[in-house]
């Protein structure tokens, strides 16, 4: 690892930091916001902005330090880092992480800490009260996101065990996806679900968000190379190929089943391809990326349509169905396609690595799922998590924020 500042690498990670923040503000906010009904659009946008704000403060205060600073005690360090860099103390302007300033690394990582809880919103959209949502997210960020990040990227036990997660399949998508599933089970389905039609109020908005997510994901994945080099280039390539393949396959499946392809389908497919390639993006070749994208589309297609309806839970915008399932799937497939024998970069035994990946997913899912339930309970008892019937009927925008999304008369 070089120890001199490289301005080119720094420029790329600075740019990636902007790209990944852009994925949440306004990318994900629009992607989700377009999928809810008019009366709830602002509540989703508000949730994204408030999460971005509160998590920034928490991350700078203690999150970054607990995730990326070693704890003295090695045993402790296996599960969580230390407080040596609370409030970025001991992070002088000159400090480097690899060849980039540590402040840049800390901010790049912050954008991941922001989008992860924001992804959960999709599961409980249109029915959770704002106050409880914010309290839950603040706690979740510290209790779930920070430790898991340390496990995988901060020198914790998953990393030492040899688990592979290039850009966040486990850290971001598994944690958020499983949390989403738990929150929607905890809150119960929306009033009228599934009989009442709840069509997206503006697919146009969702498409804008999807475009921002797609482009932003270049920063998410290729930025994780922390350098502007061939590794970043190949990572970007894998990302683009998986997204495009998944989008195409999803459209094909829709055409097979319904006789036509839809715009909601193609953007969902693209996002599934992006989420699924994330953990593998830096380790695989073109062939692996295509395979992962194709499998992602097929699996997520069924989890987000057939599967969900069959089990009857109300994952409003498929936070689990797309991000969670994609994250788990991708993390496992990383164990396969990262292998040099399949055009990847890692000298691994596929069998063993898949086992490690499965264990990593299981442990992360268990921790995220369990803690999410506990934290929801706390937020619920403290502030009341579920919007009452009238609030749901009138909509969260007017009842929780006293605003309306549109006044087009």
């Amino acid at each position: 690892m070089t120890t001199a500042l490289d301005t080119g690498n720094t420029a790329w990670v600075l740019t990636s930091t902007g790209l990944v923040l852009f994925m949440t503000l306004p990318g994900l906010a629009l992607f989700y916001g377009g999928l809810v009904r008019t009366k709830n659009v602002l509540s989703v946008l508000m949730q994204c902005f408030s999460i971005a704000s509160i998590v920034t403060v928490l991350w700078v205060a203690v999150g970054y330090s607990l995730a990326f600073t070693p704890a003295e005690n090695p045993a402790v360090n296996a599960v969580v880092g230390g407080l040596g860099k609370a409030f970025l103390a001991n992070v002088p302007r000159g400090a480097l992480t690899g060849s980039i300033p540590e402040t840049v690394f800390a901010m790049f990582q912050l954008t991941f800490a922001i989008i992860t809880p924001a992804l959960i919103i999709g599961a409980f959209a249109e029915r959770m009260r704002f106050g409880a949502m914010l309290l839950f997210m603040a706690l979740w960020s510290l209790v779930v996101y920070v430790p898991v990040t340390h496990w995988m990227w901060g020198g914790g036990w998953l990393q030492r065990m040899g688990a592979l997660d290039f850009a966040g399949g486990i850290v971001v998508h598994v944690t958020a996806g499983v949390a989403g599933l738990v929150t929607c089970l905890y809150l119960g389905e929306r009033k009228g679900y599934p009989t009442t039609p709840m069509p997206p109020h503006s697919l146009t908005l969702s498409v804008v968000g999807a475009g921002m997510l797609w482009v932003g994901w270049f920063g998410f994945n290729a930025g994780s190379a922390l350098a502007a080099n061939g590794a970043a280039g190949m990572t970007l390539t894998a990302t683009q190929v998986s997204a495009a393949t998944a989008a195409s396959v999803w459209s094909f499946l829709e055409w097979q089943r319904h006789g036509r392809a839809s715009v909601l389908g193609i953007i969902t497919g693209a996002v599934a391809g992006l989420a699924t390639i994330t953990p593998a993006s830096g380790y695989v070749g073109v062939g692996g990326a295509m395979a992962i994208g194709a499998v992602a589309a097929v699996v997520c297609f069924f989890s987000a349509t057939t599967f969900k309806r069959r089990l009857g839970y109300d994952d409003s915008l498929d936070a689990f169905g797309v991000h969670g399932v994609g994250g788990i799937l991708g993390s496992i497939l990383t164990g396969v396609f990262a292998s040099v024998t399949l055009g990847g970069t890692e000298q691994i035994s596929i069998g063993r690595q898949v086992g490690v990946q499965l264990l990593a997913c299981a442990a992360t899912a268990a921790w995220s799922g369990g803690m999410t339930w506990v934290l929801m309970k706390i937020a619920d008892v403290a502030l009341g998590a579920r919007a009452d019937e009238e609030q749901e009927t009138i909509g969260l925008d007017l009842t929780n924020h006293e605003e309306r999304g549109y006044d087009l008369t």
């Binding site: 599934p194 039609p197 709840m198 069509p199 839809s262 909601l264 969902t268 349509t305 309806r309």
Partner: protein, 112 residues
């Protein structure tokens, strides 16, 4: 006087307006509406959730006319709104007791 309400296909509104002008109608009021009837609606599918939409977009044209104009007006609407396909819509005629032009306070036929 009579108060005529015509439910027509949205893309017929301009033709109806012209047809009415030619028979001497000087004003009308149009509202967007959703119609339910023999014409069937459409289906929308979002991530596997299939919604049957029974309503079709319609335009509601309201026009107050003199008794003398009535038959001409009805005929004009029918002619200009008709495409021969299901869903062309309806014409309803109600009795109109009084009319007033807000600007001038004129009443009756003068207000039309």
């Amino acid at each position: 006087m009579k108060f005529v309400i015509a439910i027509v296909k949205p893309n017929r509104v301009d033709d109806v307006r012209e047809a009415l002008s030619t028979v001497g109608v000087r004003g009308m009021t149009v509202t967007d509406a959703k119609g339910y009837g023999r014409q069937k609606g459409h289906t929308e599918i979002y991530r596997g959730a299939e919604y049957k939409i029974d309503f079709t977009p319609k335009a509601k044209i309201e026009v107050a006319v003199d008794d003398a104009q009535l038959t001409l007006v009805i005929e004009a609407i029918r002619r200009s709104a008709s495409t021969g396909k299901i869903g062309d819509g309806k014409i309803f005629v109600l009795e109109l007791l009084e009319t007033m032009r807000i600007r001038t306070g004129e009443t009756g036929s003068d207000a039309l």
